[in-house]
Every structure is written in C-alpha cells, then in structure tokens.
Amino acid sequence: MNNDDTNMKQIGYYPGCSLSGTAIEYNKSLTGIAPLLGFDLVEVPDWNCCGASSAHALNRKLSLALPARVLAIAEHEGMDSVLVPCAACYNRMVKAQVEAAENENLKQEISAIIEMPFLAKAKPVSIIEFFSEMDSETITSLVKKPLEELKVACYYGCLLLRPPKLIKFDDCEAPQVMENLVTATGAEPVEWAFKTECCGAGFSISKKEVVLDLTEKILRNAKSEGADVIIVGCPLCHANLDLRQVDILKKNKDINIPVLYITELVGIALGLTPKEVGMTDHFIDTSSIAV
C-alpha cells in the first residue's frame, strides 16, 4: 500500500451493513483507535452488502459474487488487504477469495457476473488478525490507561476461526490471539471454557429462547471464572451477549456482566473516553469498566 508522508499505514476498510447500523459502536471505536495505532482506514468505495447468511442459504453464486465485488473494487483501488471487522462479512469474503483463487473457472464466472475483473488477490483481514500483526510491545507502548486488574473473558464466537481449513488462523479449539492482545493492554485474560461455544447466532430473531438458553451458559461460565467483562469481535456476538442479556437477567440476576467490542477495550486502554468509543450506548451497563 502506498504510504503518504505522515507515516500512516493505509489499509482497505469494509465496514459492511452491521457497522453502519446495529454495530455502530464497533465502527466508532475502530475508527477511533486506528489512527492511534498508525493506520489510515480507507473505505472501499461503492461497497455492497456481503450477502451474509441470506445469500449463501439461497444461491451459491450470488453468495460468492457479492463479497467478490467488494474485493474486486478494493483490488482496483490498489488495496492489498481489506480490514473486515464483522466476523460474518469476513467469513464470506475469505470464502469468495479462497474459492476463486483455487478455481480459475469460478474466477472467470464471478468476474462476468460482477462485470469487473476479479483477481482474488486482495486479502480480507479479520479484526483479530489485524491486531495480531502488530507487535505487542508497540501496543503496550501506546497504552495510556493500563487496564490493570481488569479480568477479561475473550469470546471468539463461530466465524472468526472456523472452518479451520478455510480460515487457517490460530487454533479453532484453543485460540489465544485475543488473550495476547488483552495482555498487551495490561488487562488480565481469563481462561474459560466457552470461548468458541455457539451463542445461537441468527436464532436471535427467529427462535429467541434458543439464544437465551445458549447465551446464558456462556455468560454464566465467564462470570464463574471471575471475568469482569467479555470482549467480542462480532456484531451478532455482541447483540446476543448484550442485548439479549437483558431478557436473561429477568430470570437470573446474578449473571450481570458487561460486554464490549474488542476495539472498545483497546480504545479505553489507548486513552479514549467511554463515550468516544461508544460503550455508553450498550444495553448492559458498562460503567464499572474504565473507572
């Protein structure tokens, strides 16, 4: 990527639908910390929806063409990598890129559908990969407010690491990337058993009781292992663990535990205020953190 004179590294940025809507705090905190970490997020122009679950449930080619169009535009703009903070968008992007890279016929087909050349060269980058590529010492040196004695449970959810043959990053059964980042901020990662357990995902809309049941188990385990806060890297994880926690608390008051985006925690550590990172807008009260 072309560096400009301010020594900022440029990286393509795809916020996707959720970061403009339900996950607006994710966007706020990420765009807030990026310059502090030395990154200039360049939004992919004229980006479209990645298709999420709807596309791949209905039509395979559509589900690959939609994310491919975004990557094709990124390539055209000269972007080597595109940061995709939403885990589902990320998963779809990787799928399109990997399948096209391995299948020349598919690549041609997709290029024809989206009516622009697609080389499957631009690399989608997840939020955890983004952080893992930074030197942890660099991050620690930028920390203005070390989050000492804050116990953090890292929740990876489903799509950041799986399927392992596609994503090929960290260990999908026993991941450690997020924990390393937490340590770099001065906080204490908590080892717990539900790091990668399903929260119920899209059933949040269609079968809420399933999500309440599964999410309660996740929250209960984090709490029983002594966590003060849970951090996530996915808008739907956040919705289920935060928004749906309101309903869970009606039955079980003891489980109260705030849920932050990974970028909000890093933002606080780098000296931003709670309002600046957006954590004051969550459903479960987050004022206990960053006191």
Binding site: A174, A193, E197, N221, S224
Partner: protein, 679 residues
C-alpha cells in the same frame, strides 16, 4: 522341429459361449509347428490333465499351449501335468482366452478372431522357450523376530520349539509390550500379566532364543534364506552379564522425576530403572538422556563424566567387578538369519490432538491405556481407581468410544477394533472396584464380533449397570471440580450433559511412527497409516511382498490379543515351512547379463527395484582386474525385466521372457513370424 500341442478349453460356457471353440481348434491346427490341436470342456479337470499327459507322450511334444483361463489360476496345474509327463514345465504356456477374451467381449466373431491371434502369439513364444530349472538357494535356519510384545513372543517361542534358533530384538528394556500394561484381558478378565509373564520367562530361558533388549534393527541386507542383519545394541551402562538383578542401585537413584513410559505418565521413574517389577530381563538400564552424570556433563560441555556429579549406583553395586559401567558404548552386532518376522505392535494416538476433549488440559481426562494402569494391581494406585488430580475415588466415570477412530476429519477412517471391548471391560472393572460408581459410555456402535465378545458387552450393561448412550461428545470442559461432558443421545433425540468425576477416552490404535523406515529397509510396503501390508488381504495375511519377511500382530492392523497370537503362530508356521528344507526353490524367471557384451554403464543397477544387480570383477589368471561388469543375482531377482529394457548394449535378458520370445510373440500378431527351425 517344433512339435507343439495346443489344448483349447471350453471352460463350460465361460469360454464356449462367446468363442467358437470348433473354429478356433481348426484354425490352430493349421498353424506352423502345431502337431496336435484339440479341445476339451474343462482342461483343468483330472481327465483334462490326463489328456495333456497322454498327448505329450503319444506325440513326443516339444511344447504345450493351453488356451484357457488366466495363468494366475491354472499355470501351476498345467505345468504340473507337463512335468508329470516328462516335459519341462517351462515349455508350457497359457493363452488367456477367458479373462482377456471371452469374459470381456460380446461379439462372437471378433472374440473368436482374437482368440485365434492369442493362441498364435503363445505358440510362437513357446517354440522359443527353453528348459529351465528352479533355482536353489541355501537357507540359514535362524529367524529374526523384531518386537517383543505378545505377537513377537509367540512367534519366537513357536519357531524355537521347532528347534530353530531365534534372534528376538526388543526396543524397550523389557519384553512384554502393551499387554504387560493391561490390567485384565477380555473376555475372560484374566489378569494380563499373569498369563503373559510365564511366556516372557520362557523366552528368556529358552536355549534357542537369543534375546536383545534396549536394541533395534539398524540394517538388513540380503534375501530370503540369507539375510545379513545389523543389530544396534544401545548402551545400557550396566553389564547385564554381571548384574544379578539385586536392585540395590534402583533404591539410590535420584531424582524420581521422569514420567514413566510404562505407566503412561501417571507415575515417575528414575534415570536408572527397570520399566516394571515383572520385567524380563529384570535388570536395570541407565537412560543417559536423563541420568544426572550424563546431563550435567552435557550442560557443562564436557565429554568426560565427573564422578562427583553422581555415581551412587556404582557405589552401592555389590558385584565384583562392578556391573555399572559408565564407559559402555553402543554396539553393532551382525546376525545371519533366513527369515524375518516383524512384530513391532502399535502405539496409542496422542489424545491432545482432539482439543475439544481437553486431554492434557484437564488431569482427570485420561486415555484407555492410562485407565488400565489405574486398574492394574501393579499400577501407580495399586489397582484403586483414583482421580489423577486429587486422588479421590470418582463417583461416576464417562467413557467415550471412537476417539480419533472412524473420524476422517481427524485423519483416521478405520476402526481400532478393540475399544468397544475394552471399554465394556473398563466399566466392569470400575463397578467391581467402586460398587456405587456409575459408568456412562458414549458410543456410535458396539463391535463385539469375537468368541464370547457379545455376551461380555451385554454383561457390562445387564449385570454391571453401565449406561450406554448412543451419540458423540462434542466438548468437555471443567466447571469447578467436575468435568462437564456435552454429548448427545440419538436414541432419545436429546442432548445430554453429564457432570463427570473422570473421563476415559478410547483413543485410536496407530502404527508406530518410525516403522515405515524399518519397512523400507526390509522391502515391505505399508499403507497411508503406516500399517504394514500383507501379501493378500484375504488369503496371505502373514506374508509380505518381500519373500522371507512375515508379519505378526498389530503392526499389520489394529487387532486384539487372540488374533495377534494366531497371526504370530501363522507366521511362525511359514518360517518353519521355509526352514523345513535345506534349499529353497525359486522360480527360474530371472535376469542374466552377458558379461562379454556388458559395457558396465550400470543403468541396470540403478533401475533394479530389488537391488538384485551387483558389480562383478572379471580378473585374469594372475588376479589382475580386466573389467567390472554387471551381474544379476538370481537369488534376489524377481523377474520384473526392468534391467532388460534399460540395458543399452542388449546384454541383459530374462529367462522365460527372452527378447527372442517377446519379439516373436509381437510379430505373431500380424502373422509376420518367419518359419525358422527352432527346435
């Protein structure tokens, strides 16, 4: 003058339905050199064979062609008939007008024409065949058995009891293998060591068995009846001939901090050790990778050992001279044997590969083999079932079958065969020791096909109250003191979560990792899992593609003790058969190299897959070297013909498939063979 007799078989309808046998017989009678052309319903039958014999003698035939099935079916039959009639068997060939003609074509006219061509081809070949005699190779009547587990022990005893010497090489300091680690064996619940140790002692005391322990096979050269083996005897640093096994040294060695291999990490051993109390030989070895004397020297960069670092064992050893010898070196010993049995056994899969089960993370998640050690009276808990984490007796145990096995996603598609049985056994042992304990078993299927096996598993359920749940476990995690096992019960259709005090994983049986190196040394093939390949999966289970090398036990495939013992005795019988003759007969279809025309490029030596080509020095009468040429060792050659095809000077030829024979066969396709007097 060639006098060829051709016998055309109908094979009932197999050939007769598609090939016009009458037309074929008539056409063949017209072929040059054919003096008799006749047909018969089943030439392989007794009257059929008699027909061949009578015809040979009546017409004084110089060669025979039998147009029938595949030579893989009946070549020995017809060659035997010729032999009995006084005709060299290698003057008899078969034209396969069944598998290669009537069975694969439907058009009768075309099939018949093809059959005619095929008979003409073989007739032209046979005219140029020569009388060949089987090659005789002397046999060294000593056997090598690699591996001292139950299979190796059985094979060694069987061969030794025939009166032949056996060299038994075992990698660990004691024979016994995995069977020595087991508590009780299914389906009788016999104490494993009680039935095994008498055999171990028999091996050690047998006058015909030469036992090497703490040793490996380093090199193998040669061929059936004549193998040259190099045994690598690792330095034990204890002279086994002087050591009396008194055990004084065992009491002073410190620290006891090395995970015991025999107890699968559940206890610790010292650097100077005997793997278990009933070890045979019951003499210790010093593990120089953990012995203080050696490790401290290595850390300081010294080659010389300093007695001030340690040497306690030397101090207390009562024998004179001292049995402890820190200067002992590794030795390489040459042994000559005539046959080799591979019985290297299995290893258990590394359970931490299945991260979702928490093995290695949670102390109370153990493998089946570790459970055997807990249950064993000679084990780390003296036979009491105790949790490794806190030593408490588990009130319930969850057993999980098929951990790794039958799981293509984890890289193992096969079934490990013994786990259903030993898991049922474990539930029973647990119940017999902890009367109020509850065992749960998560399974996919119950495979109990052996004698009394089904009844055994039913006993676990009906008499000892084990609860069997048909479904898999997705995850195990720890919540405070208990292990939460998340599984599914497919028969009720409900997810199941059990708070377990202990979890036992029935992990997959795997081949030993370095066995492929041993296999390559021996010329034995192996599959993608490193299990060694038998010569034929149905009919030749103990032989391999390498003549003189046999298989016994789990190195070939997962199996239980009865099958390992049977296979070992089977392999021993093959060896005994080999040793029953002083000379071993080989098929004479071997290569020969004309040393007069050989240009010594040695392409053949490079190309030969069996290492059968050697360099031969031609010297004059005074012993001066004239030239070096290639020489085909007829005892090793397998008759593949690759050397013939790569030879640049046309010096190599293959008996039974000479260039002359091959070109005549090829030219016969187009009826271009010159009528030569080839008698």
């Amino acid at each position: 003058m060639a006098k060829i007799g051709v016998f055309i078989c109908h094979c009932g309808e197999n050939i007769g339905r598609t090939v016009d046998v009458d037309e074929l017989t008539d056409e063949v009678a017209e072929m040059g050199g054919v003096v008799v052309s006749t047909d018969y319903k089943y030439v392989c039958s007794s009257p059929g064979q008699d027909l061949i014999k009578e015809t040979i003698q009546k017409h004084d035939l110089s060669g025979v062609v039998v147009a029938a099935c595949s030579p893989r079916m009946h070549e020995p039959t017809f060659r035997g008939a010729c032999s009995a009639a006084g005709l060299n068997p290698y003057l008899c060939e078969m034209a396969n007008i069944r598998e290669h003609c009537s069975w694969v074509h439907t058009d009768e006219e075309e099939a018949t024409q093809k059959a005619i061509d095929m008979v003409r081809i073989m007739t032209e070949k046979v005219k140029r065949n020569t009388e060949l005699k089987p090659i005789q190779v002397p046999v060294t009547k000593r056997a090598l058995v690699i591996g001292g587990g139950i299979a190796g022990i059985q094979a060694a005893l069987d061969i030794a009891n025939c009166g032949h010497e056996v060299v038994l090489v075992e990698k660990t300091p004691s024979i016994g293998g995995h069977m020595a680690q087991l508590s009780e064996t299914f389906p009788t619940l016999d104490c494993s060591q009680c039935i095994l140790t008498p055999r171990m002692v028999e091996v050690a005391q047998h006058p015909k068995i030469k036992l090497y322990v703490y040793a490996e096979v380093a090199e193998v050269e040669g061929y059936i009846g004549n193998f040259d083996v190099k045994v690598h005897q690792r330095a034990k640093f204890i002279n086994a001939d002087i050591c009396t096994g008194c055990g004084d040294c065992l009491e002073v060695c410190e620290p006891r901090s090395i995970p015991s291999e025999f107890d699968v990490g559940l206890s610790k051993r010292t650097a100077l050790y005997v793997p278990f109390h009933q070890a045979v030989p019951n003499k210790p070895v010093i593990d120089n990778e953990t012995c203080k004397l050696f490790t401290m020297a290595a850390e300081a960069g010294r080659e010389k050992l300093k007695r001030s670092d340690c040497g306690e064992c030397y101090e207390v050893c009562p024998t004179k001279p001292n049995a402890v010898d820190f200067n002992q070196k590794d030795e390489y010993i040459d042994e000559k044997v005539g046959a080799i049995i591979v019985a290297t056994g299995f290893e258990v899969m590394e359970a931490s590969e299945i991260a979702e089960y928490g093995y290695g993370k949670y102390e109370d998640v153990i493998t089946g083999l570790q459970f055997e050690r807990l249950a064993s009276a000679s084990g780390p808990t003296e036979g009491e079932i105790k949790r490794p984490s806190d030593g408490k007796t588990p009130e319930n145990i969850v057993f999980i079958q098929c951990v790794g096995s039958r799981d293509p996603a984890k890289g193992i598609s096969y079934c490990s065969k013994v786990c259903c049985m030993y898991t049922a056994k474990h539930t029973m042992l647990y119940k017999h020791k902890v009367h109020d304990g509850q065992a749960y078993v998560f399974y996919m299927d119950i495979r109990a096909g052996g004698k009394n096996y089904e009844e055994f598993t039913r006993r676990a359920i009906e008499e000892d109250g084990a609860i069997y749940l048909r479904g898999r476990v997705s995850r195990i995690y720890k919540e405070k003191d208990v292990l939460m096992v998340k599984g599914f019960d497919t028969l009720s259709g409900m997810p199941v979560e059990i708070a377990a005090d202990m979890v036992v994983l029935a992990t997959a049986m795997k081949a030993r990792p370095k066995v492929n190196e041993l296999a390559q040394m021996l010329g034995v093939s192996f599959d993608s899992y490193n299990f060694l390949s038998e010569a034929h999966p149905k009919l030749r289970p103990v032989e391999t593609a390498a003549a003189g090398v046999y298989l016994a036990g789990a190195c070939q495939a997962p199996k239980d003790i009865p099958d390992a013992v049977s296979q070992a005795s089977g392999a021993a019988a093959k060896v005994a058969a080999l040793f029953s003759q002083d000379l071993y007969e080989r098929e004479p279809v071997v290569a020969s190299i004309d040393e007069n025309t050989c240009v010594a490029c040695f392409f053949c030596l490079e190309a030969c897959p069996y290492g059968a080509i050697e360099r031969k020095e031609i010297k004059d009468r005074d012993g001066n070297l004239i030239k070096t040429v290639a020489f085909a060792n007829e005892a090793v050659c397998q008759g593949c013909g690759v050397c013939v095809s790569v030879c640049r000077s046309n010096s190599a030829d293959l008996a039974g498939f000479t260039d002359e024979q091959m070109f005549a066969s090829i030219e016969a396709i187009w009826e271009q063979v010159e009528e030569k007097d080839v008698a």
